[in-house]
């Protein structure tokens, strides 16, 4: 037809017959049933929180199939660990999971200490617990705000950020940074706490307890939120077992599994705290478990601050840049905000580890999504995705 092209008056961009998108979508769509829509959620979608990409097959608004596509934030942390000395690799651990970096600090430093047989002074152990738990609270608060934002409530995230800022202020005193914290050193921690740190932490604990009551009244008891979450995305023990889910997801399924209790590390044996395991295994159960964990972390921080002993924060001959790891193999696991954070370390006796494998809880937890999202509405799938508490840099590593 000559004359005006009504479809594309300003010149042809792509021929609609040949343009099918990228390799993954094309192959995904070959298995699609007739009459369905392939929808690409991400990597720049508002509720994937980072660069997770999910290809979804939709029938109307019902999700028939959902497949996460990973690798948009792959930074080769494991390979980097093999070409750097252990001392050089510590800052990397703050960048794997930007919401709970202290747990990753601990996983790597703990693995090296276990392999090298390095003792840690008692004061340093207390400081490790305090910083790790404060960081866990910050991570859970951040998740809480972002999760409610996924459900359409924009305001709570700004409240959560205020609390998180306070924790950042506290941790900044000892770590010097606010996001990619790297506080741990082999045989101790980098800096001792001062008066201001202790005062701010002591003030923060009762303050947050009051705030949590307000959050319950404002958000948890809200009828719209409850209707959106109750019964959505149930994940029982069997599915958690098959995919290796840990952390709040497994606990919401009714298993009181926590690395701090199961494989005790550091001085967690000394503290009196509960492992909250949820009444329901749906999204609301996971929500409640995380909020309960914040309270438990506050109890641990309170006890640790009270019993904080005097002494050195690092052993005298702490390993430095020229440290040679003894030959051997070890696995050290800690409880991160999202589940079991592990570091598998193999050394052949050189200055650099032979192999590092990082166990990211987010990766296992994300694997549940494809099965849990099947047959739900798109809005429910987003809620399930949010309830998994994913941090994409950690998933991709």
């Amino acid at each position: 037809m000559s004359g005006l092209n009504f479809i594309n008056p300003f010149g042809v961009r792509e021929d609609p017959g040949t343009f099918t998108g990228d390799f993954y979508t094309e192959n995904f769509s070959r298995k699609a049933k007739p009459g369905t829509v392939i929808l690409n959620l991400g990597p720049q979608h508002p509720s994937t929180h980072g660069v997770l990409r999910i290809v979804v097959e939709l029938d109307g608004e019902y999700v028939i199939r959902a497949e996460p596509v990973l690798g948009y934030l792959h930074r080769m942390h494991e390979k980097m660990g093999e070409v750097k000395t252990p001392w050089q690799f510590i800052p990397n651990m703050g960048r794997v999971d930007y919401l709970h970096p202290i747990a990753w600090n601990w996983a790597y430093v703990g693995a090296v200490e276990r392999l090298g047989g390095i003792e840690v002074p008692e004061r340093a152990e207390y400081l490790r617990v305090i910083s790790c738990e404060l960081n866990r609270i910050a991570s859970h608060l951040m998740w809480w705000g972002a999760f409610v934002m996924d459900l359409g409530g924009v305001t709570p995230i700004l409240y959560a950020f205020e609390e998180r800022e306070k924790i950042n202020d506290i941790l900044q005193i000892v770590t010097g940074s606010r996001l990619t914290l790297s506080y741990f050193r082999f045989g101790g921690v980098s800096t001792d706490v001062d008066e201001r740190f202790l005062r701010l932490t002591k003030e923060f604990v009762p303050y947050l307890r009051e705030r949590l009551k307000m959050y319950k009244a404002l958000v948890t008891d809200n009828i719209i939120l409850r209707r959106r979450l109750e019964g959505v995305g149930p994940m029982g023990v069997d599915i958690c077992q098959r995919y290796g889910a840990t952390g709040p997801i497994l606990r919401a399924a009714g298993v009181a599994s926590d690395t701090r209790r199961d494989i005790p590390y550091g001085i967690y044996k000394k503290f009196d705290f509960d492992i909250p395991s949820g009444p329901t295994n749906d999204s609301f159960g996971r929500y409640l478990v995380r909020l309960a964990e914040v309270e438990e972390s506050l109890t641990i921080v309170e006890q640790a601050i009270k019993e904080l002993p005097a002494g050195a924060i690092r052993i005298d001959k702490a390993p430095k840049a020229n440290y040679k790891l003894p030959a051997g193999e070890t696995y050290f696991a800690v409880e991160g905000a999202r589940g079991q954070v592990g570091c598998h370390l193999v050394s052949d006796g050189g200055t650099r580890p032979y192999r590092i494998k990082l166990r990211a809880p987010g990766f296992s937890n994300l694997s549940l999504f494809a099965e849990a999202a099947k047959g739900t509405l798109l809005a429910d799938a987003i809620a399930i995705l949010g309830s998994l508490d994913l941090v994409i840099p950690e998933v991709d590593r």
Partner: protein, 324 residues
């Protein structure tokens, strides 16, 4: 009504004033909304541009005006450009029969509310066109949601308004205001609390505002039916959203809150005060609640609002019959 030159001139002038009102309202409401959101979220809101950030909205609209008209690939460009215009135009007509003051009515018609309800249905067509024409799956899903939602929430809305129409015995908006007294306890909200509540819930649904903002649903559909619009196309959707909000608030003020009548000195200022109070309530809702799910949205309507509004209509009719 006979169409004379005087009438025609009057309507043209009224239309121009209404356009001014719509644009002015959008500028003011953007400022109010952002400041209210800032207050609720404990942050300052806009404060850099102009005194206390008052010029921010104008600067934003200038930016939108200055943007390039961008067409994504493979769109139906006629419908793509028509949709924002169609969102904007019917709103103009909707304001004609609203009695802002006793004598401040653009078009005195006997069945004003019929005119409003008839043309209000046109708004959703622009949403369908926008979602369909922009060749985007998010847009299509948003458009599908918009249709189902708009069709559903129109019915209880009409039912709630009909109860008031029964009481007034007229479809004329001025008449309905005249039937109400000057004091708050003489307003229809006292005699028809259920109808007022149903109308308020449906107006939130009808104007696609949170917690019923499913056609836009940022965390699910990125921006819903206007995902592919930028610049002036987006600005027109934005403008029509605020104009629709203003319209339903004016209807709410007229039907349930006594219109231009007030305790001291009747006049158009009372209509505006009441309408903006309703708007502030809508803004407050948006920044407080999470979004409902789509099936829940329809359940609220078909299982609760519709039966309740029918019941309310029956009871009103029976009571009126007995009073006679």
């Amino acid at each position: 009504m006979e169409l004379t030159i005087a009438n025609f001139v009057q309507i043209v002038i009224a239309c121009l004033l209404i356009i001014a009102l719509m644009v002015g309202n959008a500028v003011i409401m953007v400022y109010i909304e952002r400041k209210a959101a800032g207050f609720i979220q404990r942050r300052p809101g806009p404060y850099e541009v102009g005194p206390r950030g008052t010029i921010q909205a104008i600067c934003d609209s200038m930016k939108l005006l200055g943007k390039q008209l961008f067409i994504p690939g493979n769109v139906d460009w006629l419908l793509y450009f028509l949709a924002p215009v169609m969102a904007f135009l019917p709103v103009l007509l909707l304001f004609l029969p609203i009695p802002f003051g006793k004598y401040l009515v653009a078009l005195k018609v006997d069945d004003g509310i019929l005119l409003i309800l008839a043309f209000a249905g046109l708004g959703v067509i622009s949403n369908i066109l926008a979602g369909w024409a922009s060749n985007n799956k998010y847009g299509l899903l948003g458009a599908a949601r918009a249709v189902a939602q708009s069709v559903a929430y129109e019915i209880p809305m009409i039912m709630a308004l009909l109860a008031v129409v029964f009481m007034a015995g007229s479809l004329n908006l001025s008449e309905i205001v005249e039937r109400q007294g000057t004091w708050p306890w003489q307003w229809n909200i006292v005699f028809q609390p259920l109808a007022c509540f149903i109308y308020f819930v449906s107006l939130v649904g009808e104007t696609n505002r949170a917690p019923f903002d499913l056609p836009e649903a940022e965390s699910e559909l990125t921006a819903g039916f206007h995902t592919e619009y930028s610049g002036m196309g987006f600005a027109l959707f934005f403008l029509s959203e605020y104009a629709n909000m203003l319209l339903v608030s004016f209807v709410c003020a007229t039907f349930f809150l006594g219109g231009y009548k007030g305790p001291i000195l009747d006049g158009f200022w009372w209509t505006f005060i009441k309408a903006y109070a309703v708007m502030c309530l809508i803004v407050w809702l948006r920044w407080t609640f999470p979004r409902v799910r789509f099936d829940q949205l329809l359940n609220i309507n078909w299982k609760w609002l519709l039966p309740l509004s029918i019941l309310n209509l029956w009871v009103t009719a029976i009571v009126l019959k007995f009073i006679e």
